[in-house]
Amino acid sequence: MTAGNGDVAGALAIDGVAIEDTFAEAFGMRATRLVITADDRTWARHAAVSATGFATSVIACGCEAGIERDLAPGETPDGRPGVAILIFAMSSKDLQKHLERRTGQCVLTCPGTAAFNGVPPAIAHEWLNLGGALRYFGDGWQISKLIGGRRHWRIPVMDGEFVCEEKAGLVKGIGGGNFLILAADAAAALAAAARAVGAMRKVRNVILPFPGGVVRSGSKVGSKYPALVASTNDAYCPTLVGAVRSALPAGVGAVLEIVIDGLDAPSIASAMRAGIMAACRGGLRAGVIGITAGNYGGKLGPHHFHLRQVLE
């Protein structure tokens, strides 16, 4: 992915931070929401963190996943503390595979947890097998129970039963919303990124799949090595200024990227807006110099998030 096809000169500025006239290019993905509950939040979190681990990019992880938000007992189907996670994949088949594996290995295994569909039936495009796939772990002792019109599976486990809803809804989501923070140094970039992530985590329907919500290894398509489909985004590496055709404005010593996957475009735009506004807080005094976004020239991804439109 390349960034910065737009015009910096005369750009919109927030607190003196230049907002480049460019756009983030994003792709259609298949997504689902899983609600994980447990007797207390600690164990619901253990399961959610585990289930969303190693899921930063579909390129090598197969799916992208993250914690959307914590759920109060009154928001969960069983009245216990819960966590909502979102999982994204490139196809329904991939999503089915990863939903099944992650729930089976990370939720079913976690003491006291239960797993429920978190997608409202009205927006479900298809249905994925959740408990319907995991039930075989019960080795014939699993029990199906229709509760409130929704089928659940009760799988005997060593602390009692794992309760899991039979189906999880699939929605057509969007992956790859992004923006880049150009800062004077790594510390300023990280502080701005942390501010952005804090603000973006309050937006529903989105996840930030990378560690802590932040990516330092922005990539471009292709490599000098034929085996690699992507390699470092050299135009944005401060240690390559002078060696390659750098895209970094003068004074930029570090760049960090925030990638956003969401269930719909308005949610991604809201998250980008919240993140950019937070990143720019303090402006140049905080060492933040500019905001840009990554795209492929608009030829590959059908969803374009223009920074200036997002900030309107």
Binding site: I143, K145, L146, G148, G160, E161, V163
Partner: protein, 271 residues
Amino acid sequence: MSALRFTLRHSPPSAIDVSGLRPSALAGRTRKEIAAIALQGWNEAWQVGDLFAIRGDDASRIVIDGADDRLIRAGAGLEGGELTIVGVAGDYTGEAMRGGSITVRGDAGDYVGAGMRAGRIEVTGDAGAFAGSGRAGELRGMSGGAIVVRGRVGDRAGDRMRRGLLLVEGAAGDYCAARMLAGTLVVLGRVGIMPGYLMRRGTLLFDEPRTQLPPTFNRNGRHDLLAIRLLLESLSGHGRAFRQFARAGPFGRWLGDLGCDGKGEVLIARE
């Protein structure tokens, strides 16, 4: 528009099949046309107008007033809409219904909701034998929907039940849930002998700690299971008694019938 109301003029000499008095069969018809509909009796047919005084015009809400137990199969095959029976509902009320709701303000006969697939039946009084079961010789009983009986049910309630809810506020007769295939049966009153006899799967919830199970059930311990809590919570909409019962538990749990797969469960409160 007011509900289409059929008030029984006089009790017929023998059983009459009144399943024709359901919304889908009466929609779009004038009162005159409805009065000319033939209802089949044991060996003779009766015109609706001869048996009932007809008032009202909303065929999606039907009331049979002053009913007695000779009016059988009321609401059989119901697909939608509301049917209210005031008085005594005869046998096979709501048989094979597929949607909508039936309310019996009084008692119901045998086989209420037999073979039903969806919808809801509520009986404010008692129901006879074989509630929620299948007809004699059929392999499956009710396979969906809910039957709520505020009073007692007779013997063999839920016989061969396949799916759905059978909720009884009062007592249940002997052999309830016998040969049950799956589904949920709740009895808040006393339970007769041999509940769950030859049940294969399914869940029986009893509020009576003195319930005696067949010898082919094994004690499983005392449990407070999430799935049962969810199930009980989902019953809260069926009335105050079930809302209160939703707070019951932990339950004594038994597994059986071991003479027949043994994958059913019986949960007994305060045991």
